[in-house]
């Protein structure tokens, strides 16, 4: 077990997750983006990307490219980045989370990562299809979103650390309950303090829901595949190293 071995496995997991996420996003999500784009084109006053591009005289990317190669570029780069980060975080927790095996620590990191980095921020600031959202507020919305993600991730890290401390005194049950309670307290309070964004307007509710469901399925695919593949790879790595160590010990004893 070392940082390099974990990072390589994280990149493999991220690559697989990027491809799988593309397939799912294309099949489940793109139909609703197309619907939203057609709604957007029907609204002359919406500040759309295409208009912005034309105003700036920039390069236009066709919808066909955006929904295939563009989407694949996005899922692959984010997959590789996330896979490596999850693996390195997992590397820091291996052997430090009570009696959890390396594969179990890895799975837990992926699960907590999905909850803290994706699920909870999504509940506060859900993704929106094209045509929802005003171009003037994008800066504020991005700052709010990334700010909330930061609070959620920091709270998850601190809560996990706290849970381990509590566990020393109250046992595993007490530690886990205290950790989850602390995390929930922080994100619920933060959720109340952060400004609510509602720019849905007259956008059709069914398309909005279908898009958001598809977005969540896409994100679950990304994190689920990273978690499953990386957990499997770490499990194999640890088994191989344990077997090797036992063999050496046996050989030394002969």
């Amino acid at each position: 077990m070392n940082a390099r071995a974990l990072l390589i496995r994280g990149l493999i997991a991220g690559l697989v997750a990027g491809v799988a996420t593309f397939v799912v996003a294309y099949a489940v999500g793109e139909p609703h983006i197309d619907t939203a784009v057609s709604i957007e084109d029907g609204q002359p006053h919406t500040h759309s990307h295409d208009e912005a591009v034309e105003e700036e005289g920039g390069i236009e990317v066709s919808r066909d490219n955006q929904k295939t190669w563009g989407l694949l570029t996005g899922t692959l780069t984010v997959g590789l980045a996330l896979g490596g980060i999850v693996a390195l975080v997992a590397a820091s927790t291996i052997g430090r989370l009570g009696s959890l095996a390396p594969s179990q620590s890895t799975a837990l990191v992926a699960l907590l990562g999905f909850v803290a980095f994706v699920l909870v921020p999504f509940l506060k600031y859900p993704g929106n299809p094209p045509a929802v959202g005003s171009g003037e507020t994008i800066g504020d919305r991005a700052a709010l979103y990334f700010g909330f993600v930061l609070v959620s991730v920091l709270a998850a890290v601190a809560s996990t650390y706290g849970a381990l401390k509590v566990r020393e005194r109250l046992g595993t049950y007490g530690g886990v309950v205290a950790g989850i309670a602390a995390y929930l307290a922080v994100v619920v309070v933060a959720g109340q303090l952060f400004v609510t964004v509602n720019e849905v307007g007259a956008f059709p509710a069914d398309t909005l829901w279908f898009f958001r469901r598809a977005s969540l399925i896409t994100l679950a695919t990304m994190w689920g595949v990273i978690g499953v593949v990386l957990t499997g790879l770490v499990s194999r790595l640890y088994a191989a190293q344990t077997a090797e160590a036992e063999r050496r010990q046996l050989a030394a004893g002969l």
Binding site: G58, G70, A101, P126, A131, G133, I138, S215, Q249
Partner: protein, 72 residues
């Protein structure tokens, strides 16, 4: 002599940790790189760094939406 007793019991053996000192440079380098990449793909125009209407920005547009990041 007492070699067999020294064999680790599967599952009960304490799991080795990776020293944080070894991990730090990897985490720093790849952590920064990864966060930067995610930022470039997902952060929208006007918000940060990326000039509006660039090819990269339009290229990864659908991924940004479906991965739940603010856009538009």
């Amino acid at each position: 002599m007492s070699q067999p007793a020294a064999l680790p019991v599967p599952g009960a053996a304490s799991v080795p940790t990776i020293p944080l000192r070894e991990l730090a440079p990897w985490a720093l380098f790849y952590g920064l790189l990864g966060v930067l990449v995610i930022f470039f793909v997902t952060a929208d125009q006007g918000a940060v760094s990326i000039p509006s209407g660039t090819a990269l920005h339009e290229w990864v547009h659908d991924g940004r939406h479906l991965l739940g990041y603010p856009c538009h």
